[in-house]
Symmetry: C2
Subunit: 147 residues, 2 copies
């Protein structure tokens, strides 16, 4: 069992640091992800489409926690880049379903490769234990974000 921290972290401090870390992480990843031609929000949306299969626009917006009009624009751009396509919803004439094209699958894979390369570079000086710590913190964060 790994040693516990000596004192309980103050929520105020954790909140601040989490906020700051998220901002700086995204500012960095932005540059890497640019190489794919897809911004962070587009990559994130594409990831959901690839993973969650054909999905309605409204559901995709909800999953990404943005409003439908914002998702409409993102999908339009993804479509014009040929990484997703729209198909009519079989059971509902108002809705469209968003699906990833083969190019979309390929592009996401490549983008992931780039981030991994960067991360591997970053992780250069870290040992396995630190990676585990990072992953465990991530699990907690993901739980928080699900609610």
């Amino acid at each position: 069992m790994p040693s516990k921290s000596r004192s309980d972290p103050k929520p105020a401090e954790v909140a601040d640091r989490l906020h700051s870390a998220a901002i700086h992480l995204l500012r960095r990843l932005r540059r890497v992800d640019e190489a794919s031609g897809l911004s962070a929000p587009k990559l994130s949306a594409l990831s959901v489409v690839v993973f969650a299969g054909p999905i309605r626009l409204g559901d995709l917006a909800a999953a990404e926690q943005i409003r439908p009009p914002s998702m409409t624009r993102i999908v339009q751009q993804l479509e014009s880049q040929g990484v997703v396509r729209r198909e009519p919803d079989p059971g509902d004439g108002r809705a469209t379903r968003i699906a990833a094209t083969p190019k979309g699958h390929r592009l996401l894979k490549q983008g992931r490769g780039r981030r991994v390369n960067l991360l591997v570079e970053w992780l250069g000086g870290l040992d396995t234990a630190d990676i585990h710590k990072l992953e465990k913190g991530l699990v907690v964060l993901e739980q928080l974000l699900k609610k």
Copy 2:
């Protein structure tokens, strides 16, 4: 999909999840922070100014990892809201130094309080062990971002 922390997490997966978590965290915090009249980037910059004392614009931009023109605009808005002021750099006529006003200190404190309240709400279902995990992951992340 989270992996078991038993096995070594794949960097590819960790990279993806970190990316996604950062995006979703910021989208949420954005709404909370709006109440302070300061966006996430402004709060982040103000935090550096409050913490690192009077600081030159270029250094502030570097600390925030954005370009000087972007920081110029942020500082202008912070100034017009009365939370920072500019003073001439004693030793360099080209440079200005950015300092936080009392109002700036106060506002940052209030904003922190709001985020803490939100976090406390989020943390409602979590135990101390989870908070520790989150904090430890954060330490690792912060190390990565320092480089």
